[in-house]
Structure formats: C-alpha cells, structure tokens
Amino acid sequence: MSYKLETVLRIVKLGLNNFWRNRWLTLGATLLMTLTLTMISVFLLFSFIVRDTAEAIRSKIDVTIYFTDDAVADEKIMALADRIKSQPNIQEVIFVNKKQALEIWQRLPINEDVKKPVSDSYNPLPRSLQVDTTDPDEIQGVVSSIEIADTEKLICNECVSYVKNKDAVNKLVSITRLVQRVGLFLSIFFGIIAIFNVLNIIRITISARSDEIEIMRYVGASNAFVRGPFVVEGVLYGVLGTIITTLFIVLVSQIASGYISITADVLNLSFGAYVLHYIWQIIGFQLLIGVILGVVVSVISMRRYLRA
C-alpha cells in the first residue's frame, strides 16, 4: 500500500504522541531496551578485547632467520625472502639489513655498556628475515616451508629461531578462546532474559491502547495504518536505547580508563581510547539490534489485535 506523505507524517506524529502520552510505560520499555543493549554492547566490547589481545599475542609468535655469514649477498637473501613468501601460511617476510639491525639494537632496553661497542664502524649484528605467519598454531609447518624454500642452502644450522615458549603462548590463546566462548554464551543468556522483558513491557504498552486500536479498526483504518504508530515507537525504543547506552559506555570507559590496563599493556591503547576506536561499530550494532528488536516485538505483540 502506498502512502501519501501526509499519511506518513500522521503515523509518525501518532507514534510520537503515544510515546509521550504513555511516558512512564514507554520510559520503562526504553530503559529495558537500554539494559539489553548495554549488556550486549559490554559483551561485544569484551569479545573485541579478548580477540584483539589474543591476536596481538599470537602475532608476536614469528620466525626469524639469521644470516651470520656476512659474505652472502643481500640480493640472494631477498630472493630467498620471495621464495618463502610464495609458500602457504606465510603472511609477510621482512628483511632486516645491518643498519636496521643496529637501530633495533640501540633501542633495546639493555645496559648501555653492552650496547656501546656496537656501532656503524663495528657491526657484528646479523641480517635477518622476519617471517610472519597467518596461523601461529602452524609454526612447525612454517619452519619446514622455509626449509623447502631454501634451495640454495643459505640458512645455517641453528639459525632459524622461533619463540621457545610457544606452549605457554598457546595456552594463553586457548584460555582467551574459552573466555570468548563463555562470554558469548553469557551474552546470549542475558540477552534472552532482557529480550523477554522488553517483549513483556511492550506488550503492556500495547494492551494499554487496545481501545484505541479497536476504535481505529471500527472507523476503517487499514491494518498497515494501525500498525504504523507502533512501528514508530519500536524504532524510538531502539534509537533512544542506543543513545543512552552509548553515552553510558563512553562515560564509564573514560572514567575507568586509568584503572583498566589490559589494553594499554598489550595493544598500546588506553581503555578509553580503545572503546572510542570501536564506538561506531558498537553504535551500529546497537542500532541494528535495538531497532529490529523494538519493531519486531511491537509488531508481533499487536498482531492479535489485528485479527478480524
């Protein structure tokens, strides 16, 4: 059914009027919606943090190949790098030349007396290839990939090094995975409880207006028109819920920023900055969930009033 603009405006106005007129009920519905969205957002944020820190930890597991023999030409090493890159599971291969190795050396947090002897004129530091993998669980596969790529036998024994505490890292990764799953389960569980409450309060707001629905039908309003204002209200619950939730989350995260160090330690971002980094994704997610939930619940709850 196509509507004139006048009719659409009328429906929006009716929806807004109803929202205001039953403000205690609609406030309740909005707050419950806020609670639902806050819960979902917190778990969303939580799973972001778990994912990002796990990623950060996992990305630190890389393989480094050292070239102690300075006689080998840079070009040969670069060629080897290209061959390694063409192997599966390899994300990136970075060549670190002597000059860069020196820079890294000078930045290391170690005793200056140890650092000093090494300089531009005396640089025993080896060149290296830093091999990043796509899947840190497959370190062994990467090592054998490197062996396959090394057709010219440039790599000496014991020159391929990778993180020795791999098991410890893997354990951490599997714990974060467990945490992520528990978080997901909890968010679904609490999400269902919250949705159930939203459903109930919206049903109450609608049954408070069953007279109005009845009258609209008596005077010949189409079902679409009767439904219209409730759809508008459903959208309002979602939008207002999103606004309140976002303000709440931003405020709390800025205040709590100094006390939560996990993001700062692993990701070099303060907690507050981390939340702001994801704020648009969170807002989008809230709007999507909030509006769909509000509209779907409203339309479903009033369906029984629309039966002839």
């Binding site: 059914m1 196509s2 509507y3 004139k4 006048e6 009719t7 009328r10 007129r21 007279d211 109005e212 009845e214 009258i215 609209m216 039908r217 008596y218 005077v219 010949g220 309003a221 189409s222 079902n223 028109f225 009767v226 002839a308």
Partner: protein
C-alpha cells in the same frame, strides 16, 4: 490513496444513491443486508441459530430482545468482527466472507457503528475524536477539517469541539460517537444499545438524532431493549429470543 483502492472501494459496495427523505421503501429491489441461515457458534454457546433476515435500503430496523439473545452477535457479523459458523451475510449483494482482508477496512468505512459505551478516546477532544476517524483512513487535512465541522454541526456539537469527552454529558458523548460514525457518510448506521447508559432526556435526544439521520436516507439498525423507544419510533421491529428471530413486524411494538 491509490486508484486501486478507490476501484476496490467502488466494487465492494455499490449501495446506490442515498434515499430521499420521503422515499418509500422499495420492497421489490434486492435487500441491502441479507442474513441467510446464519448460525454463530461460540465455544459452549450457540449465539445465533439459523437466522434469516433481510433489510432494505432506507429502512429503520429496531433489533429488540433481552440481553444475550444474539443482537450484538448479529451486529458483530455485520461489522466482520465475527464470521458466521454457517450461513452467509450479504451486504449490497456481496458475501462478507468473500471480502479479502485488505477490503475489510474499506467496507467498515461504509458502515458507521455506535456503542453503548461510546468508545471515545479520552485524551482527544471532541474535534480530534471525530477527525481521527478520517485521519486513519488517509484523508487530507483540508477534507478532514471541512467534514468534521459539518458532522459536528449535524449533531449540534459545534461549540463543544474543543472539550474532552469527560467534560460532556452522556448524551453529548453519544452524539460525538454518532458524529464519528457519520464522518464517512455511511450508508448503514448500526447502533448497539446507544441509549443503554443514558437518562430518558438524553435517550430521546439520541433517538431523535438517529431519526433525523434516517430521514436523510441512511439505513439504521438500532439494537435496544428499551420498550419506550421501540414503541415510540413505530418502525420495523425484529424481536429475537435465544438466538432466533421470533417476530418481525413493520410499524411494530415491543411485544414479548
């Protein structure tokens, strides 16, 4: 409104031009409303049994009988709040059971309904209550303003337009409800116990108003158990008893 809807609108109800005030009821033409062997079975209660009833255009029919004999059920069948268990209800030659769900609202605009409890919206003024009926049907603001003023004048409530229902007397409230029912210029006006909550003075006001509307050519169905009203109107009286029509007389009185 799309032209599709307008077309459907015309198809649903070709009820013909309103009767002139002095027009005689044409008994040879097809009836406007026709109940054919209508039975309505509610769970555990047979509300209407095998009712046959014909109502012609321009008639004033008093549907009488005690509470619970099936008057309201007949009205609900007419407004498509219920569909008969068996039998058919025809309005303007069309079986109501054949109306598609999208056509039902369009059909309802052609019949006005008034109830004992008025069913006004308490938060809306008299004007808004009447205008609301047109708003929900997609009329333009200009049309609504014009038409609302007209029907409020018709029921003599022009000066109460800005009042809220709780500021009005019972009779005035019922007149607002009648104005709302008339806003679509219905061919049929159904009044279900419209005077049930009113004192005698207000009752006569309402009955007179219904009579005036009838004089302008609207077919009226008045369900009531008020003996004085029926006796005074001296129109067709259809008496129901436990779901059946037991007598049907023109110029009749309320006899049990």
């Amino acid at each position: 409104m799309t032209t599709d809807i307008q077309k459907a609108d015309q198809e649903i109800l070709r009820i013909g031009a309103p009767a002139k005030s002095e027009r005689k009821i044409n008994t040879s033409s097809k009836p406007l409303i026709e109940f054919k062997k209508v039975t309505m079975q509610y769970p555990g209660r047979l509300a209407v049994r095998e009712v046959d009833l014909e109502i012609r255009e321009g008639e004033f029919v008093c549907l009488v009988g005690q509470s619970g004999v099936g008057k309201t059920t007949l009205i609900k069948l007419l407004t498509i709040q219920e569909t008969p268990t068996t039998g058919e209800v025809y309005v303007a030659g069309r079986n109501l059971a054949d109306l598609r769900s999208k056509e039902v609202p369009l059909y309802r605009r052609k019949i006005g309904v008034v109830f004992q409890d008025f069913k006004l919206l308490p938060q809306k003024t008299v004007w808004e209550n009447v205008a609301f009926a047109m708003e929900v049907c997609g009329f333009s603001n200009a049309e609504i303003a014009k038409r609302t003023e007209k029907v409020l004048d018709l029921v003599n409530l022009g000066r109460r337009a800005k009042n809220y229902p709780h500021e009005l007397s019972g009779g005035e409230r019922q007149r607002v409800a009648i104005a709302r029912a008339l806003v679509h210029s219905p061919k049929i006006l159904i009044a279900d116990e419209p005077t049930g909550n009113l004192d005698p003075v207000n009752t006569w006001e309402i009955i007179e108003l219904l009579y005036r509307i009838h004089q302008k050519g609207t077919t009226i169905i008045l369900a009531t158990h008020n003996r004085q009203v029926v006796d005074r109107i001296q129109k067709r009286v259809v008496l129901m008893k436990s779901g059946k029509i037991v007598s049907d007389q023109h110029g009749g009185k309320y006899v049990i």
